[in-house]
């Protein structure tokens, strides 16, 4: 009896709850765009942002001087009025001069001035703050010179003269001095002298005030000059941004794409699991789901109820899957063996199996999408065990009676061709690639062991060079062609996990960022791709395509090939409100 009574109470209670939360029809939800996030930003202190979600929010709250533009393949002016002008100083310094947009204002109506930029740089150099990452990234900006006549003009003194430095010099969020340092205590301190004992007390007092704001969890205490303000953040659940009613860029006659902001409200929902996110999208609980798994995307595209309620977009990205060879291993030290093993990847079948056919094979680490720099005269890799066997024989491997391969190594040792292949555990596409390679290699008499490895252990093994072959994803971008950390001899032990370097490629890597004209750059890049195609420190399997599925409630979503795969601020709602 007691149980029945209790059950009744529960039922009534649940009923009340159900009546309270039938699908939401509040006034705000009609103009809210809900976007799925796989993970929380964790930390929104502008000095500490380090994950894609956090970068996305920071770019909506704050503006930088320049912003990467995918259509133009370069950095374009954002808070700056125009591209900076540069002038070399001596043979190691570079002067980069910017002018800020005259319309740009903070939320209190005061203009964004050069002294705000100077202030931001001082924050990034202030001892006592967590500035290590900013120091590593922007430490090359040695000083800032304000223009005596124009409060919006300033010159950055940069160390190093490569073109990439210019674009990075404009790639940090400008912070408001009036919020963080209303009395201008840092204004009189010259940037290079901030760390001197003379200014220790000023710097410490500022650092204490900055830390007291706890911006990591309360970013709303630092209003930026971006179009949005943060209205709610429940870490791990959701984050809501609201469009400012009056934003300075609204007064521009024809705002460029970087300065457009349409959605009145953006809500990011954190849903870690892909199945749940798909379900939420189909039920209209979220409007946009980017970087969707290929199989689910293809299934929804062909399912009848979803075709009418959703729109599907794909776009080429700069992310690619590679098979890396550890060239320090005796069996993999010669290019011919590495070329031979590349013939054992059945790339078209892998693209079909893991990406539902939506990926593009490539001859090298530059996306075929960038026609200007892609070397289209190189052949695409193909699947051919026969050619692999021929190349192995050229590399002096001899097939033994039991089917395995051996050759004489240095100092009369016998080398056997047997490999391990490691990859991040729990990633199905890596596993498919590894299994396909294993079976193709086994058919040729090469034993292959699979080592799925947990992320941090894998990254340790890669840095220490404790692997034979490895499958991983690498991300490029269309703005910078600096391969130093990936393939230069200076990168060995850090980003260059294959241990590969030759004098020729080292010279090319150094020359590419310094090339002044696009034609010269294209010539060097093509030469570099040809060298890589012969040397094969890694084999590019395919370039991914980003998949975005969005509700038809939204207009055409501007998608892009860079993370997160869409431009949230330029999504428009469909004009006529549809009934859901």
């Amino acid at each position: 009896m007691k149980q029945i009574l209790f059950g009744l109470v529960l039922l009534v209670w649940a009923g009340l709850g159900l009546s309270a939360c039938s699908p939401t029809t509040t006034a705000t939800s009609a103009e809210t765009i809900r976007i799925r996030w796989a993970r929380d930003p964790d930390n929104l202190d502008p000095l500490l942002v380090d994950n894609p979600s956090a970068f996305e929010v920071t770019n909506l709250l704050h503006c930088s001087l320049l912003k990467g533009n995918e259509a133009q393949n370069r950095f374009v002016p954002w808070l700056a009025e125009a591209q900076p002008t540069t002038r070399p100083l001596g043979d190691s310094l570079l002067l980069v001069t910017y002018r800020l947009r005259p319309q740009a204002t903070w939320d209190n109506g005061s203009p964004v001035l050069a002294r705000d930029v100077a202030f931001t740089l001082k924050v990034m150099n202030c001892p006592g703050l967590p500035i290590e990452r900013d120091q590593a990234t922007f430490g090359f900006i040695r000083n800032i010179q304000l223009d005596a006549h124009d409060p919006r003009q300033f010159t950055l003194v940069c160390a190093g003269q490569s073109g990439d430095r210019v674009s990075i010099s404009g790639d940090f969020s400008i912070l408001p001095e009036y919020v963080l340092d209303p009395r201008g205590t840092l204004r009189t301190v010259p940037l290079p002298q901030l760390a001197l004992p003379r200014f220790q007390s000023v710097a410490q007092a500022f650092a204490r005030r900055y830390q007291a704001l706890n911006l990591a969890r309360h970013p709303e205490r630092l209003p930026g000059c971006g179009a949005y303000t943060l209205t709610a953040w429940q870490p791990g659940r959701y984050l809501t941004l609201r469009r400012k009613a009056r934003w300075w860029a609204d007064s521009l006659p024809a705002p460029p794409p970087e300065l457009q902001a349409f959605p009145p409200q953006l809500t990011y929902q954190v849903i870690p699991d892909a199945t749940t996110a798909t379900m939420a999208l189909r039920r209209g609980e979220i409007d946009l789901y980017a970087l969707m798994p290929a199989a689910e995307f293809a299934r929804l595209q062909h399912a009848s109820p979803d075709q009418t309620s959703l729109r599907f977009y794909t776009t080429n990205s700069y992310e690619f899957l590679t098979a890396n060879f550890n060239v320090r291993r005796p069996a993999l030290r010669d290019a011919l063996t590495r070329q031979a093993l590349t013939y054992l990847f059945d790339i078209p079948a892998l693209i079909r199996a893991t990406q539902q056919g939506a990926a593009s094979p490539s001859a090298g680490p530059i996306s075929p999408r960038i026609a200007r720099y892609y070397n289209d005269s190189l052949p695409l890799p193909s699947f051919s065990p026969a050619r692999a066997a021929a190349l192995l024989r050229q590399a002096r491997w001899q097939r033994q009676p039991d089917g395995s391969w051996q050759r004489q190594g240095a100092q009369a040792t016998t080398e056997r061709l047997q490999l391990t292949i490691s990859y991040r555990a729990g990633e199905p596409s890596f596993e498919t690639v590894a299994l396909q390679f294993r079976s193709a290699a086994l058919a040729l008499g090469i034993p292959v062991q699979l080592h799925p490895t947990e992320q941090s252990l894998l990254s340790r093994q890669l840095r220490a060079g404790e692997y034979d072959m490895n499958i991983r994803q690498l991300a490029g971008n269309p703005f910078s062609y600096d391969f130093t950390s990936l393939l230069h001899s200076r990168g060995i032990g850090n980003g260059n996990t294959t241990g590969f370097s030759t004098p020729q490629t080292d010279r090319l890597i150094e020359a590419i960022p310094l090339a002044t004209s696009p034609a010269e750059k294209a010539r060097l890049l093509r030469k570099f791709q040809r060298a890589l195609a012969y040397e094969r420190p890694f084999s590019v399997l395919y370039f991914m395509r980003y998949r975005v599925a969005a509700s038809r409630r939204l207009g055409v979503v501007p998608v892009m090939g860079l993370v997160p795969g869409y431009e949230a601020s330029r999504i428009r709602l469909e004009k006529k409100p549809t009934t859901r």
Binding site: R133, V270, P272, M279
Partner: protein, 347 residues
């Protein structure tokens, strides 16, 4: 139990807890590479040059206090044994813990205690509801099967064993695909705890919570109730064969009365051990369910901390679980004494 005995008992439990935490501290930090929590973020950032990366890694380690030696003594094959003094990671951690400070998360630079409290706000409703429901379901099922409807017992036991064979992620995915799927039945929401702008009156709030937690709680009950029921059923069967039950029957008690009044009290004893496991599990959360239904609870916090090697959060969470376990152990011993006075605790 006399008062000094109780205190000695509590003291021993606390010492065990301290040893457990110290062991875990030394093992996690001694066996893993200190830099790995930085590497993923640094590798993704193409703007940082190779030369600056190693210096940056050193600086960040210094900020987190990870460049200190691990323990009071250290051993290097080249230098032999060395005394490191109090400037070591263990000393700093222990001193902080004794003052009630759990440290700061590497990932979000927020105090760990705050993160844990936030996570508990989501985890406790989920796990407490699931625990209460599983206990009710299992006692109800076991007593009904042994008392009123013994005929259906075998069939139901098979079903329970079958349920138990399924891993939790299958159960939860199954529920999600059945009850939150527009193709089948869209009765419950797919994720989360509702949206922020929906305001609810005080009497609606618990109902809304129930509605949003229905699927997560359902999957947890489906996972834990079978084990409890099977255990309780086995114990009841054992007790029903005892002579005192025959005596009760001979006195004319109805079958359900025999079960409720006589056998259950004795049969609960081994089950108490299972029930006391619940309390720490309530605090530890449920990783799979929290990830699947997008609830930012303890399980997800700890799993993410383990995956990204955010030791302060991980150890803080474990500290909480260990404390819950100390309390649970004391409760269990007290319950034993109440249900079976024949058992004496040794001091």
């Amino acid at each position: 139990m006399k008062a000094p005995t109780v205190w000695r008992h509590v003291g021993r439990n606390l010492v065990t807890a301290w040893l457990v935490l110290s062991g875990l501290f030394l093992l996690t930090r001694g066996l893993t590479d200190a830099t790995s929590y930085l590497q993923t973020a640094l590798e993704a950032d193409s703007r940082i040059q190779a030369a600056e990366r190693s210096q940056l890694t050193r600086q960040l380690l210094h900020r987190a206090g990870l460049d200190l030696p691990l323990f009071y003594i250290s051993f290097e094959p080249t230098q032999g044994w060395q005394w490191e003094g109090t400037a070591n990671q263990y000393h700093a951690w222990a001193a902080n813990l004794l003052q009630g400070r759990l440290g700061t998360s590497y990932r979000s630079s927020a105090p760990v205690s705050g993160l844990l409290l936030e996570a508990l706000r989501y985890t406790l409703p989920l796990t407490v509801l699931a625990a209460v429901l599983s206990a009710m379901v299992s006692v109800g099922l076991a007593t009904t099967l042994n008392g009123r409807y013994p005929a259906g017992r075998r069939a139901l036991l098979y079903l329970l064993h079958a349920l138990q064979a399924a891993p939790l992620f299958l159960l939860a995915t199954g529920l999600l695909l059945l009850f939150a799927n527009p193709d089948v039945l869209a009765w419950f929401p797919a994720f989360g705890l509702g949206l922020e702008e929906e305001s609810a009156t005080w009497w609606q709030a618990p109902g809304r919570l129930l509605y949003h937690l229905a699927l997560p709680v359902g999957s947890l009950v489906l996972m834990s109730a079978p084990a409890l029921t099977i255990q309780l059923d086995a114990a009841l069967q054992h007790e029903l064969r005892q002579p005192y039950v025959a005596t009760a029957r001979a006195k004319g008690a109805a079958p359900s009365q025999v079960v409720w009044r006589h056998a259950l009290r004795n049969a609960l004893l081994p089950t108490i051990t299972l029930l006391t496991e619940l309390l720490p599990n309530l605090v530890a959360g449920a990783v799979v369910v929290e990830v699947l239904f997008a609830l930012p609870g303890m399980g997800r916090l700890l799993a993410e901390a383990a995956a990204t090697q955010d030791y302060p959060v991980l150890l803080g969470g474990v500290t909480l679980v260990v404390l819950a376990r100390v309390v649970a152990q004391l409760l269990a011993d007290a319950l034993y004494l109440r249900t079976d006075p024949r058992i004496r605790l040794q001091a």
